[in-house]
Amino acid sequence: MSPEKLVYMANQIGRFFAHQPEEKAVANTADHLVKFWDPRMRKAILGYVDAGGQGLQPLVLKAVLTLKLNVDSVQARTI
């Protein structure tokens, strides 16, 4: 999936929660990604973050990084 599209979508989500205190906004953004994004999309955006994560809003970047644990656990379950 195109990283640009994933970044755009993630930033859109983050923008909705941006008015909240940062900790809550990060948690809600991450929660949305976990609940509505297919694992391969989460994996792709994590890969993009590992490669620099250009274009992600700061709170979204933090939210994506919290996915790391979740993706690992999904992989563990599906392997």
Binding site: M9, F16, D38, R40
Partner: protein, 950 residues
Amino acid sequence: MSLISEIDFGTPVSDAETTVTVTIDGFAVTVPEGTSIMRAAMEAGIQVPKLCATDSVNAFGSCRLCLVEIEGRAGTPASCTTPAGDGMVVKTQTGRLKKLRRDVMELYISDHPLDCLTCAANGDCELQDMAGAVGLREVRYGQEGANHFDAAKDQSNPYFTFDPAKCIVCSRCVRACEEVQGTFALTIDGRGFASHVAAGMDEPFLASECVSCGACVQACPTATLIEKSVIEIGQPEHSVVTTCAYCGVGCSFKAEMRGEEVVRMVPYKDGAANHGHSCVKGRFAWGYTNHRDRILKPMIRERISDPWREVSWDEAVGRVASEFKRIQATRGRSSIGAITSSRCTNEETYLVQKLVRAVFGNNNTDTCARVCHSPTGYGLSKTFGTSAGTQNFDSVDDADVILVIGANPTDAHPVFASRMKKRLREGAKLIVIDPRRTDLVRSAHIKADYHLPLLPGTNVAMLNALAHVVVTEGLVNEKFVRDQCDGDAFADWAAFVARPENSPEAASHFTGVPAETIRAAARLYATGGNAAIYYGLGVTEHSQGTTTVMAIANLAMATGNIGREGVGVNPLRGQNNVQGACDMGSFPHELPGYRHISDEIVRGLFEKDWGVHLDAEPGLRIPNMLDAALDGSFQGLYVQGEDIVQSDPDSKHVIAGLQAMECVVVQDLFLNETSNYAHVFLPGSTFLEKDGTFTNAERRINRVRKVMAPKGGMADWEITLAIAKAMGVPMHYSHPSEIMDEIARLTPSFSGVNYAKLDALGSVQWPCNDAAPEGTPTMHIGKFVRGKGNFLITEFVPTDEKIGPRFPLLLTTGRILSQYNVGAQTRRTGNATWHGEDLLEIHPHDAEERGLHDGSWVRLESRSGATSLRAHITDRVAPGIVYTTFHHPDTQANVVTSDYSDWATNCPEYKVTAVQVAPSNGPTAWQTEYQAHSHESRRIAHPAPLPAAE
């Protein structure tokens, strides 16, 4: 089976709470005050002869056939216009009455053709019946005098004829057009003997403003207005009550049959959604069901460039199973998925998502709600706690203020619109928020108190501004908020909307609507009594679709307009079963009943019932499936009853995704645009060919009943079962009722639903469970489903789809009355008479600047693509805005729409596309190439005939 004949009580029911008791022909009858004597008599089983009265319209008192005698009163009053009074003693049959009625009938018949044996209404003619009822034996006047026998028949309408020679000028058609439909297309023109029914300006029906709803035909007591299908076939001999397969209103119809042939579809009076009314689609546009284009045999092909090859069901289903298994073996379990259909039944939709979860072993299931009302599900669940509208349609009768935003109900939900217009004529106030001047803004006897013609893409700014007025002008219903909503959330929200950037003055900069108009509309909504919001895809199909739904919910909560009749938040659903498709777990993240797939307890229930392990991770949404196809991780798709190439945004992207897949399976009635890229075609069945249920926009579960065998050999639910079996996981159901039993077993809001109950009650609205065994017409009474109503901050974020020098106009897309969605059904009916092609509406100013003429070809271009179509110059759209529909594949309007989508749900932003419009000579090169490809893709190779025996 027999022909269902509903009782005609002659006049409408009275809703008075006090009663009166009247004695009619010796029988005491107690009825609500205001009930006519005619109706009271019928309640007692006594039929007073009548011609001009029918219970769908108010009494008129013109035919003088329903005369009665009342003890203590002089004369012979008409029973239809005389209310029953307490203690009244009435006689419906006396010597004087008999003579009067016979005389009246003599006069009628003296100017009526006596061709009963060859008349299409023979056997279903009230004039004939009344002649019999009054004992007419002779017509002393003969038929040689002045008459109307030579009046020309109007056959212009594709579905019914108007024969003035048979008209008795009872005005039932005129009144039905006014009172039931609200179009006012008919009138009685002329006086005395020259009186006649006139459509429009005394012109052919087709040329008039008649919308062909059929109310006049239904009301006509003779053969004056009669269906062409009845003329052609004859009278039906049995009927079955079923549910229309068009829009989300979910009208109940009697399918009136002769053998396996449909004679006509007649709206069912006891249908709780439509109360006996219909629109041109449900009433007449069913000819597609036996259209020659129907594909009735399964077909396969190796490559999408090959012609189709007809095969047996076993071979086709076997191909699906082997391909899907092969793809999963090489690409992984998550490499295939399905799209459920909002046109199919709940039971069929449930089975497809079950196939995906239990057989495919993933959650890659999605549905067309993705591109229409997915923001409704998300937005209302976060604010109210449930993903559905709050009211039933009847609730509009109690509304004092109606706010319609982003919806065009007279075109897209016409039967409900008639109901709404009736309430507006009774005096309810109307606010319309829409970029276009829809018919609701101004039409016969309807005028919006406020029309807020905002720029597309600014809904959130508008709703925040309305809320700003409510909060800053002290119009909040504080008791409601205090008792039923989350106080902290409200305080945060109130502070947010009170900010200057959310004021009407600030919003007018974005919306283009004057601040004072916004303020006045807000005051009316907040203080006008019961205020109800109705919305459609003009709300959801935006990058802030979900935010807009939340803002609507906020506004309703702040003013206390939730939890009783006459108020509420009412999403007008697009397709017939889009509510049901969502309820049934079609989305990739949730199981039936809107429960997230990650919930271990819920997942455990399904695992135990289905005997399989379920994946706890959400699957791909439709646009994600297409993206994943392009990167190779998604290669197999089963599409039941959707045409994503025509309906989904950015057609070129959709096509690229489908072309990248190894196996696309389309199950539909016709070869469609999506099947151009398919490898297997499975012939689907129409709503007439199967049993099941649809759930309409008011959460009403209605029965769909089979009236003929599936023409392709299998109902859609049976096809899904065959695929499951071929993939090695058989499911065992012998009838859709058993599927509903499973749904009820596993879904708390459906736990009280079963076919026996639906047959007994007609329909129920979910939640239907132990707490509400007969369903729930109004939700959130006294308490929100989630507990406390949740206010959410709805910051306005302008769309990234910007106009500029290259693309200076904003395109918004929508629907038209006579066509439905991608037009696969309605284009194959007489409805094409009204709308044979998509047109581009453009304001005269914009047209003049570009040198365009009405009807001339124009090129419509965006950053995504270009198409050509003809222009319709109209001030219905504002300068700077253009509008079109997406009903025709020749246009492929979605080649123009963008890839932008809603932040929460990926619902596409159909309603805002920056475009340029320029003169054109005809279709674009892409259109021409696409049509050529489409033609090639639909070739069916038939085996060469065997040589003749020598």
